[in-house]
């Protein structure tokens, strides 16, 4: 007794389905896909709405344009490759053994589902779940299950919906199907037509020897296929797990909203695929091919891997807003890096800190308001140069650095950029200075504190700092930091003590 059981998933008109998968707005409209060299383009694939409008395969572009309301799209092999990867990913959730069996413009995958009953139930249940899974990914598929590989494949190609073929019913299931489903040449098909043979059932009834005498050894295989007894050696493929989505725009897109409309659907697909493997998206890489051949690259790194669609879309929105493409976008590629789902164990007495995902969005919004390099954590440079620091990205650490707060200290308020001032000296010490039209008397001064460094480079400095207590004419007193740039012989008001 054979324990073989196969399920064939067939996505008809795959070029059209691949293009419409990310374009939900076009899914209810008649769409035809054109293929071929320029000026010789013909319709290679179309959806059912287009068929109802009278469009047929092989129409020229001119003929297709004559049908009112028909949307014409160009075939894209990149989009089809991305869609095929998604189809494969969905199928791999039901069986690790998958063989590609595509013919023509349809895309077919045959799954070895022997022994899967314990996981997914009887073939009917498995087929329903498989169809739902494909529908979630944006594909309309027909599914057939059979103990014979070829029967499942032929039945799925020829029918719509789900077909469950019991063992022993193979020949009966195929008998009314058209003979064109077999791999016949045009001449062979005409010969069968002249004999009055139109269905597989009629072909299966022909005597084997007589058939082989007229068509050769291949006729034996056709007869076995028609009877549902053809044998097959399963050749499973091993798909690599890559989270990547691609969309080729019909016309170059300039508006951010239009890009995000497609980007949102792409993120949905990436998240669904990652969730299927119990993973999250650790980073997103966005490549936008621009008019003129350039590629605009963006990268998004959430603080923790996430599967929150709205959060990822918001980050994409803010990143695109902060770094918009300099030309119209021709195609969009989203690639994600999978990471482990974020889990954080919070302590009962641990201090409250910002939620990582909300903080990411907040930081991106802040950067959009004040600038990319003006939000973050200040890090002091290892130098004696006064006021030197650099900005680094703000990260909330699980175990914060505990630093003991000591006595209160006098703080400076920097003047950025420092004001140039005019200083009067007496006995080599400042006695008063003028900032614009205002004159300030210096009541006490400490210094000079000389520092210099980096004399070997253009960033060298040589300064003389004075701590001064100053008073204006109206009696206001304040402490400030006056600096003499000895290289330029220029006085500056650098900071106030506060």
């Amino acid at each position: 007794m054979s324990s073989e059981l196969y399920a064939c998933v067939h996505a008809a008109e795959f070029p059209a389905q691949a293009l419409l998968r990310l374009r939900t707005d076009l899914q209810t409209q008649p769409v035809a896909v054109l293929d071929g060299p320029a000026l010789q383009e013909t319709v290679c694939s179309l959806n059912r709405h287009a068929v109802r409008r009278g469009a047929v395969l092989g129409m020229t572009k001119l003929e297709a344009e004559g049908i009112g309301g028909l949307q014409l799209l160009s075939r894209s092999t990149e989009v089809e490759a991305a869609a095929y990867a998604v189809l494969l990913e969905c199928a791999a959730k039901f069986s690790p053994r998958i063989e590609a069996a595509s013919q023509g413009t349809g895309c077919a995958l045959v799954l070895d589902i022997a022994g899967m009953e314990l996981l997914f139930g009887p073939p009917e249940k498995l087929a329903e779940r498989l169809r739902d899974q494909m529908a979630t990914a944006g594909f309309r598929v027909s599914i057939a299950t059979s103990a014979n590989f070829h029967v499942a494949q032929i039945k799925a190609t020829a029918t719509r919906g789900i077909a469950i073929i019991r063992k022993g019913d193979e020949a009966h299931a195929l008998e009314k199907l058209h003979i064109a489903l077999l791999p016949l040449t045009e001449e062979q098909r005409e010969t069968f037509a002249s004999w009055g043979i139109r269905t597989l059932g009629e072909l299966a009834a022909l005597p084997k020897v007589e058939l082989v005498k007229r068509f050769g050894a291949a006729a034996s295989d056709w007869r076995a296929l028609a009877q549902g007894v053809a044998r097959h050696t399963f050749q499973p493929i091993e798909p690599a797990f890559a989270l990547k989505e691609f969309y080729d725009f019909e016309t170059p897109v300039e508006q951010l909203d239009s890009l995000l409309f497609i980007g949102a659907r792409m993120i949905d697909c990436l998240v669904a695929r990652a969730v299927g493997r119990a993973m999250s998206l650790a980073s997103l890489s966005v490549d936008m091919a621009l008019e003129g051949g350039q590629v605009h690259h963006l990268a998004i790194h959430p603080a923790v891997p996430s599967v929150d669609r709205k959060f990822l879309l918001k980050l994409l929105h803010l990143e695109m807003g902060a770094h918009p493409p300099l030309a119209a976008v021709v195609s969009l590629t989203l690639a994600a890096e999978a990471g482990q789902s974020s889990k954080m164990q919070l302590g009962l007495f641990a201090p409250q800190t910002p939620e990582p995902s909300r903080l990411d969005v907040t930081l991106a919004r802040l950067k959009a308001i004040v600038g990319e390099d003006r939000v973050g954590t200040p890090v002091l440079e290892d130098t004696h140069r006064s006021g030197s620091f650099r900005m680094e990205g703000f990260v909330v650490y699980a175990k914060p650095t505990v630093q003991e707060a000591g006595n209160p200290r006098m703080a400076l308020r920097r003047v950025r950029p420092p004001h140039p001032i005019q200083v009067s000296l007496h006995a080599m010490k400042p006695v008063c200075f003028r900032d614009g039209d205002t004159r300030f008397e210096i009541t006490a001064v400490y210094g000079p504190w000389r520092t210099s460094g980096c004399w070997w480079s253009q960033n060298g400095w040589d300064t003389e700092a004075w701590d001064a207590m100053a008073a204006s004419a109206n009696g206001e007193t304040f402490g400030c930091l006056l600096v003499l740039d000895r290289m330029r012989n220029e006085w500056r008001l650098e900071a106030f003590y506060d």
Binding site: L380, G406, T477, C480, D498
Partner: protein, 253 residues
């Protein structure tokens, strides 16, 4: 003869439709405070700055308002909490903050951009940027302290901030249990502020010598909406405190 409590109960019942609980004092809500880390000022404020409310630290330049705020940040980051400094005038000095004991890794610094750097699509002034940034941080939650530094802003400009903005900030601070500290030359938040600290111009300490060793500051409690406990003892309305220079600390260490 009815007892006093029965009499009170009867009066309250009679007036119930007009004044609920007419003779019973309203229960006092005890608000959480966080210490600043400067003992005289903490004593003045009976604990420190309020949590989940707006505090204003006002005063002219060199009045010690920044030193006081940094001391508060140092105390909060000491406990592992995360703080933010929204710098409208781009005047924050990381070196001073580090010297005050602020853990810079736990500090988010938002430096508002100069008007010269504005683009056509983002024509926001520094004040506008600071308010938007503060709003975002308050809504995000998780920050123990957010300092809105309007210290260099002319009062004529900052006084134009609508009262509704301060109401929104107050509600957001209350919801996220964040201490929003506004640093300015004068008070701006008006009735939304739970506490106003007025710093007086500085008094140089130890004038003379070769090194400036420190300053003495005076701070006055201008307004305190909530008291952490019932005011049974009279506290002085003003307090003096002193800050030493960063190099003085290093020398002592």
């Amino acid at each position: 003869m009815p007892s006093a409590s029965a009499l009170r109960l009867e009066i309250e019942r009679t007036l119930e439709h007009r004044f609920p609980a007419a003779l019973t004092p309203a229960p006092k809500t005890i608000y959480e405070v966080a210490p600043i880390g400067v003992a005289p000022v903490d004593a003045l404020l009976e604990g420190g700055l309020p949590v989940g409310a707006i505090s204003e630290v006002t005063g002219p330049e060199s009045s010690g308002r920044t030193s006081l705020t940094l001391a508060f940040l140092a105390k909060r980051t000491e406990g592992g909490q995360v703080c933010a400094w929204v710098d409208a005038g781009d005047a924050f000095d990381p070196e001073s903050a580090a010297a005050s004991g602020v853990s810079l890794k736990q500090l988010l610094w938002v430096r508002c951009r100069n008007e010269r750097g504005l683009t056509r699509s983002k024509p926001w002034t520094r004040l506008d940027q600071a308010l938007r940034a503060t709003d975002l941080l308050l809504q995000a939650g998780g920050f123990a302290v957010i300092v809105l530094d309007l210290g260099d802003m002319e009062p004529a400009h900052a006084m134009r901030i609508p009262l509704t903005t301060w109401f929104r900030f107050r509600q957001a601070a209350d919801r996220t249990r964040c201490s929003l500290v506004i640093l300015g030359k004068t008070t701006y938040a008006q009735s939304s502020a739970a506490l106003v600290l007025e710093s007086a111009p500085f008094l140089p300490e130890n004038v003379g010598g070769t090194v400036w060793r420190g300053c003495k500051f005076e701070v006055r409690r201008g307004r305190q909406r909530f008291t952490p406990q019932l005011a049974t003892s009279r506290k002085p309305p003003a307090s003096a405190w002193s800050a030493i220079s960063a190099w003085e600390v290093k020398r002592r260490a």
